[in-house]
Every structure is written in C-alpha cells, then in structure tokens.
C-alpha cells in the first residue's frame, strides 16, 4: 500500500466515533497490518469503512460476519 493510502487509512483508524474501535484498530494497524497480504489489507480497509457500532459488535463477538474475505480479518482483530 502506498504512503498516501496508508496514511488515509491510518487517520480513519485513529479517529473513530467509539473509543473501543479507536483502540482496536490503532493497535491492529501498529501490530498486525504489515503482516497481511494485499488482498487482506484491502479487506481491512473495507472493515474500517464500517459504522462504529457495527464494527465493534463484530470485534467483540456480539455479531458475526459471513463474508469469506472479511471474516478472517475480523478473527485477527478479535485476537489482537
């Protein structure tokens, strides 16, 4: 991912509506994001685009997601 795309993504992770999501995404960006391949990184960008409550419900296991591209990233977020 080029610098600009990464920085845009970073802003959209470190400035959320819910503190829970701020922390979860910032942490993942710092610790796990590098290890993803291009397609997985794209899936993370899509997740980061979701509304805060929906995303938090996924990360906290209060909701599940079927999408085979997104589900593995949600699992990583749950563990991080």
């Amino acid at each position: 991912m080029d610098r600009q795309d990464y920085e845009r993504l970073r802003w959209r992770c470190i400035r959320r509506g819910l503190l829970e999501v701020d922390i979860a995404l910032t942490r993942f960006l710092d610790e796990g994001f590098d290890k993803l391949d291009d397609e997985q990184q794209q899936a993370f960008v899509e997740l980061a685009d979701m509304e805060d409550h929906d995303l938090w419900h996924l990360i906290s296991g209060q909701a599940d997601i079927d999408d085979p591209r997104l589900a593995p990233i949600v699992n990583l977020l749950r563990k991080s």
Binding site: E7, L19, D22, S60
Partner: protein
C-alpha cells in the same frame, strides 16, 4: 478539493472560500446548527475531521432528556430544578430555563427528522429513568430520557445528517480547522483550515462562525472519550484571545478500564460487582456503609482515588483498583452484561469470569468551555460588561459553556444541550445575518499565525516528540487534577503543566509530506490539547472550595460549608485568560427568564 465556486485569493498561495456561515464540527451540535442556517437559505459550510456520523456523539447511548411526560407526569420546571441542583448551583438559571423549556420542541423536531425513538404501546416516545432526574422538585425518580435502543447518538447523527443533505449544507469532510480569524475590532470572520488529503491551507471567510467541536477529554490519561476529542475549538478560541469558562469542572466516571479508559457500565455493579483494593478489601463498605458499591458516581470515584492515593492501589504502579465479578454466575454475566467479557479481554487482557478487572476513575465530560449566552452567541468580559458579545462568533454542544451544566452535568442533559444550543446558535446567526451582518475585510495577516505554526512544525529540528508530550500532559492531568484534588498536588500540577506547555510549543515531526500527513495533524491537535489542560489546571488550583465535580481535600464537608461548598466566596464562574494565564470571575446568573429563582441550597440526594 471541495467547492471553489467563490474562490478568491488573498496572498499568493492561500485560497479563500466565502460562505454565509461556517460551522466547525459535524457532531450533534454542528449538524443541528447547520439545519437552521441551510433551511434559512444561507450558504453554509460544515467542516469535520471525520465523516459526520463518526463524530463522538455516536457513542451516546443513555438518551436525551425531555419532560414530555409520556410515561408519567412531568414538567420542565422539575427538569429545571434538577439541572440547577445537579450543577451545584453554578449553572446560569436563564440558560437552564431556556434549555429545559425547549426540550420537548427539539425532541419532537428530531422525531420529524426521522429519528427512530423507542415507543410505548400507544405509539408515543418511550421514556426511561436516569440518575438525577426527578419529579416534583426532587421527590422521586421520573422517566425523562428518550432513547433509540442503545444507539441514540448514532440515530441522532444519521437523522440530522440526512436533513442537512436535503437542505444543501456543504460538507468538508476530513478537513481540520486550525485558527479562528479575528480582526482588530474583535469580530470573528471565519477560520483557517487544512484539507487533510492535500495538506492545502484554505481560508473560510464567513459572516457567521459557529464552533461545535465537542469536548477535550483526551487531556486526561484515563478518558472514556474517543481519540478525536482534542478540544480544537477551545484551543482556537484561546489562541484568538477568548477566555475559557469553568474549566476546572470535569465529570469522571468511576469505572473506566485502567490504561484504556473504555467505560464499564454502572450495570456491572448493579449486577453485584464489587470494588476491591490491593488487600482484596471491599473498601466501599468503609465509605458508604449502606449503598456500598452502588453509591453515587462521585462518592465511588473519590473512594477509589483515596485508596490509590493512600497506597492501596493495585499493579506495579499501585494506580488502579479491581472490579470483581468472579463470584457471579458466568451465564448471568454473558446474558445481562453483553460486551463486558470482550471489553476485559480486549482492553485489560483479563478474563473477567476468572479474574477481576482493573479500573480507575475516568474523565468523561467537560462542563466548561467557550463562554456563551443561551442564544448561542459567544460572550466575553469587556469594559465592565461580563457578557459582551463577540460579533460573528457562536458556539454550542460540549465545546461551549452556556452554562447549563455548571459544576456537574446530569446524564442525558448533554444531548439536550447540543440540540437546544446547536439550534439557538443557528437561529441567532440567521437573525444577525438577516439584520445585515456583512462579510468584513480579512485582515492582512489573516493566515500568518497558522502558516507560522505549520512551518515551525515542518522545519523544527531537535524538538519534542508528540506522543511523549501528550503522555506527559495526560499523566500530569490525571495525577494532579483528577477526580479528587489536593492543594499541594494542584500547585505542583501548575508548574508541571507549564513545563509540558514548553514542549508542546516546540514539537517536531519527522514526516514533512503535504498530503495525508497524520503526524502533522496530531501535532496540531496537541497544540489545542495543551491550551485546555493548562486552563483546567490553573482554574482548578485557583478555586479553593469544593463544588460539584471539583472536590478538594482541603475543602471538606463541614457544618459551615456543607460538601465543602463556599457560596460567599466562590459562587461565581471562572474565566481563564489564555493571554497571560490569569483568572477573573463573573457572577452566576440566578435570574431565570420567567419563573422564580431556584434558591441556593445544599446539594444532597
């Protein structure tokens, strides 16, 4: 870049966008103001650091207060009484009457905008009880809070955003306002702002400028506020010479996860959760023998702070206490307290079914802010007038101090604040513009201050690191101006925060790129945070009584001064002047608009 149909250029490189009104902030307050302006046919720009529905208002779950009386008898005068009492008599009674009386109107309007409030069987807005809201002047709890499931703030933002789209409000998303533009005569003419995508600085030249930038809870180490709450509006106002009101008053929530701040609902103690110190002692039994762990928020928070100060905190730094639910049935926890188990695992690394959760009193809400009249106009002391209007400048929501929350906010009153004062700020701007307020000439040095800040950041070598400076500020605020305050700690705190200020004025960033430079944005936010932190520390040190959320060890509860409150000397608003770090005071407005004064009395529940 946004819309350049009214482009004009003042200096070689800085474009000017002309609007009737520019609103900084697209949370509840900003969106509510924008509706008034756009629907009045005025050309209105709304700037936001994030997409509007990602504003921090989205976190509000509890609801919005209005004495609709749908579930049982209620009256705005009861709501007014509760709010005055909640504020520990520091709230201005004209503003409080205005807010409580307008509550029904703004809630019903919201319903018409499409807000999906919970409903009763007969189709009315369902109302639930919330702490501090009572019937018949403090007699017994009343159902006054209107909510939309557990997504009240979210639903509010969506309803108002849609309404604005219909009304042609122009949104500038991922734009950060940097400085307020004020001319020699003190008029406000707009803001300078940065488009994050390009790093371009632009002047928004407006006839009316409205601030709705939210709170600054990130000045504390432990905060329930999202990272975005960096007090930008307060920083910009302060840099433009506008004083900040009642900044010593911050509401703390007793149970934020230590280190993370994430809020653990009161429901956990409701279900039987117990607070313990490092000796595993259930210490609340000593502080509140009857209510114990279910005592009111401020009592529990202060007890926790005392345990920590006296060395009975837990962990390596002995800086938190434990919230223990290991004795509860795991099935009950999972069913009645959804999300708590995950919060423990994600943010404390603790499985709360097996181990207690580390918690600390955590900063939650900012009562002070930019001083405003209830019409939403910003006011300041000038030539003997305590409330002289700053022409062209308006504010609403958590960044403003009307003052309705005084020394302590009642839950669900802040969503009401942003609706009522967001709307009145919008209405006042419309009124002033219709009365002929024109675009005034931009001063020659209009963007010098902003450009100097940016270029200092881009060129400085050997300066302070942003993250380290932020952390130093947050630690200082938490240790020296926390939920329970001590004279010596406050005095040291003033010295320390002035030291941190030196670092904050000397920040260095490594990334010098123009486009999407998040390091620069965070540095610019830090320059705002420090203004708020300094105002808070100095105002707190100066107020020698206890009142509402400001509780000092050396102003204890006595017969002469119940709860440590000293009305003879301290029944007044603090005004912190950023120009020379000095403090002045102004009287509390005890004269409501139409009803009788709620006379001073000891606050007890």
């Amino acid at each position: 870049m946004g819309c350049f149909d009214s482009l004009e250029v003042v200096s070689v490189s800085i474009p000017v966008l002309k609007f009737d009104a520019v609103i900084v902030g697209a949370g509840g307050a900003g969106l509510r103001s924008a509706i008034q302006l756009s629907e009045a046919g005025l050309k209105t720009a709304v700037l936001s650091k994030v997409f509007p529905t990602r504003s921090h208002t989205v976190a509000a779950q509890g609801g919005v207060a209005a004495s609709l009386g749908n579930s049982e008898e209620d009256h705005w005068t009861w709501h007014m009484y509760d709010t005055v009492k909640g504020s520990d008599w520091l709230g201005d009674q004209d503003a409080i009457e205005f807010m409580c009386k307008k509550a029904n109107e703004v809630v019903v309007e919201l319903e018409h905008y499409g807000m999906p409030f919970d409903r009763t069987d007969n189709g009315k807005i369902y109302q639930r009880p919330f702490g501090g809201h009572m019937s018949n002047f403090g007699e017994k709890p009343v159902r006054r809070s209107c909510a939309a499931a557990d997504r009240t703030g979210h639903a509010m933002l969506h309803a108002m955003y849609q309404r604005n789209v219909k009304a042609n409000t122009q949104f500038f998303v991922e734009w950060m306002a940097l400085d307020l533009i004020r001319d020699d005569e003190g008029h406000v003419l707009g803001v300078t702002a940065m488009e994050m995508e390009t790093g371009q600085i632009v002047i928004f030249h407006a006839r009316a400028t409205i601030f709705a930038t939210g709170g600054a809870g990130r000045i504390y180490y432990s905060s329930t506020n999202a990272f975005i709450n960096t007090g930008d509006g307060l920083g910009m106002a302060a840099r433009a010479g506008i004083p900040l009101e009642d900044m010593e008053f911050w509401q703390f929530h007793p149970t934020g996860v230590a280190g993370a701040g994430v809020l653990i609902t009161e429901g956990v103690r409701g279900e039987g959760g117990i607070l313990r110190n490092s000796n595993k002692e259930r210490f609340m039994e000593r502080y509140a023998p009857n209510a114990k762990d279910l005592a009111s928020r401020d009592v529990v928070s202060r007890a926790m702070a005392t345990e920590i100060k006296e060395g009975r905190g837990c962990g390596v730094n002995k800086d938190y206490v434990l919230l223990d639910i290991t004795h509860l049935d795991p099935a009950t926890i999972m069913k009645r307290l959804p999300g708590i188990h995950e919060i423990g695992i994600q943010f404390a690394g603790v499985d709360c079914l097996k181990e207690p959760l580390p918690v600390v009193p955590t900063c939650h809400y900012q009562m002070g802010g930019i001083p405003t009249h209830y019409s939403g106009r910003v006011v300041m002391q000038q030539n003997g007038d305590h409330n002289a209007v700053v022409p062209g400048f308006y504010a609403g929501g958590e960044c403003a101090c009307a003052s309705v929350h005084g020394a302590n906010r009642l839950g669900t009153n802040s969503l009401l604040d942003l609706l009522v004062f967001g709307k009145s700020a919008g209405d006042s701007a419309v009124e002033d513009l219709k009365a002929g307020r024109a675009h005034r000439d931009l001063p020659k040095d209009v963007s010098d201050k902003t450009m100097a800040r940016i270029s200092a950041l881009d060129n400085r070598k050997g300066g302070a690191n942003v993250n380290e400076t932020r952390l130093a500020m947050q630690r200082t605020m938490q240790d020296h101006a926390g939920v329970f305050r001590f004279s010596d700690m406050l005095k040291q705190g003033v010295e320390k925060i002035l030291e941190v200020e030196k670092a904050a004025r000397n920040l260095e960033i490594k990334d010098k790129s123009m486009a999407w430079n998040t390091a620069r944005t965070e540095a610019l936010e830090m320059e705002n945070l420090i203004e708020v932190a300094k105002a808070t520390m100095i105002s707190a040190e100066a107020r020698k009584e206890s009142r509402g959320a400001h509780v000092r060890d050396d102003a204890p509860d006595t017969a002469e001064f119940p709860n440590g409150r000293n009305d003879a000397e301290w029944h007044k608003h603090t005004l912190f002047s950023p120009v020379d770090n000095s403090i002045t005071y102004k009287p509390v407005n005890m004269q409501p608009l139409t009803v009788e004064t709620v006379a001073l009395k000891t606050r007890s529940y």
